[in-house]
Symmetry: C2
Subunit: 152 residues, 2 copies
């Protein structure tokens, strides 16, 4: 299987964990030297903590794993376009490349509302590739919001 | 003492804790109903975790304190203009107002490089007031970088 598909599939498996806990289903993995070193899924409602997005959790775990805040040899796969907080964290962590599943037109800060990763004079730019397994990444979100509406 | 001065003084006391640990001296406090409910200072190098900025720590503590991720009745005082990650976290947490000590021309995302708090169509805008105790907030940073240069 192509690497991109393999790693986005792993990110989707994380999103499924969020889905099963009634959290907005977003998942992320961080890859270094061809291996997944950290995984995360959104758990904001359960933790009552707005910083508990999949990307922030994965970044924290990756830093713990390699004992460094600099993740310059790492790449992230995330099922949904990161918000400004998470895009900012990717810049801060010096992550090399980001692979995005599907876009978030309302809050996405990697190309939708704005593009923090490439369009500003910060001290680091993050390479980005879009629409990896877009259909699957969008489907889990649509399923989630349908389920939510039915509950109400 | 005027409230703004009182609370920025408290944020500066947090910055001093970072200074004493050889961390870039940035401090933040979160205020609700006229009382400080959370404090934080930058501890990124010691924790080897790029998310350990003063603002993120204060937001996490405030959410724990009031048992909710929504901080819509809260205000933050921070000694240095937040980066994109922290500005994004302020939007995510729905914080009502931000008081900034001094500006960060290179990475500040609340008016310097860009203004995430007010200039984009996110679902929340954060009110912001600038240059509270600017001299003192700038001095501790200058002192820190002077000390750093002397060490090298």
């Amino acid at each position: 299987m192509e690497d991109k598909i393999k790693f986005m599939t792993a990110a989707l498996a994380e999103a499924k964990k969020a889905y099963d806990r009634d959290e907005i289903p977003v998942g992320a993995v961080i890859v270094r030297n061809g291996k997944i070193i950290a995984r995360g899924y959104n758990i904001k409602e359960e933790k009552k903590d707005t910083t508990k997005h999949a990307e922030i959790i994965a970044i924290q775990k990756a830093s713990k794993k390699i004992d460094a805040w600099r993740l310059n040899e790492c790449e992230m796969y995330v099922t949904l376009e990161p918000c400004a907080m998470c895009a900012g964290a990717l810049i801060q962590s010096r992550i090399k490349k980001l692979y995005i599943g599907t876009m978030d037109p309302k809050t996405g800060a990697c190309g939708s509302v704005l593009n923090l990763l490439t369009d500003y004079k910060f001290n680091h730019k993050v390479d980005v590739e879009y629409l990896i397994m877009q259909e699957e990444c969008e489907k889990i979100l649509k399923d989630f919001f349908r389920k939510l509406r039915q509950k109400k």
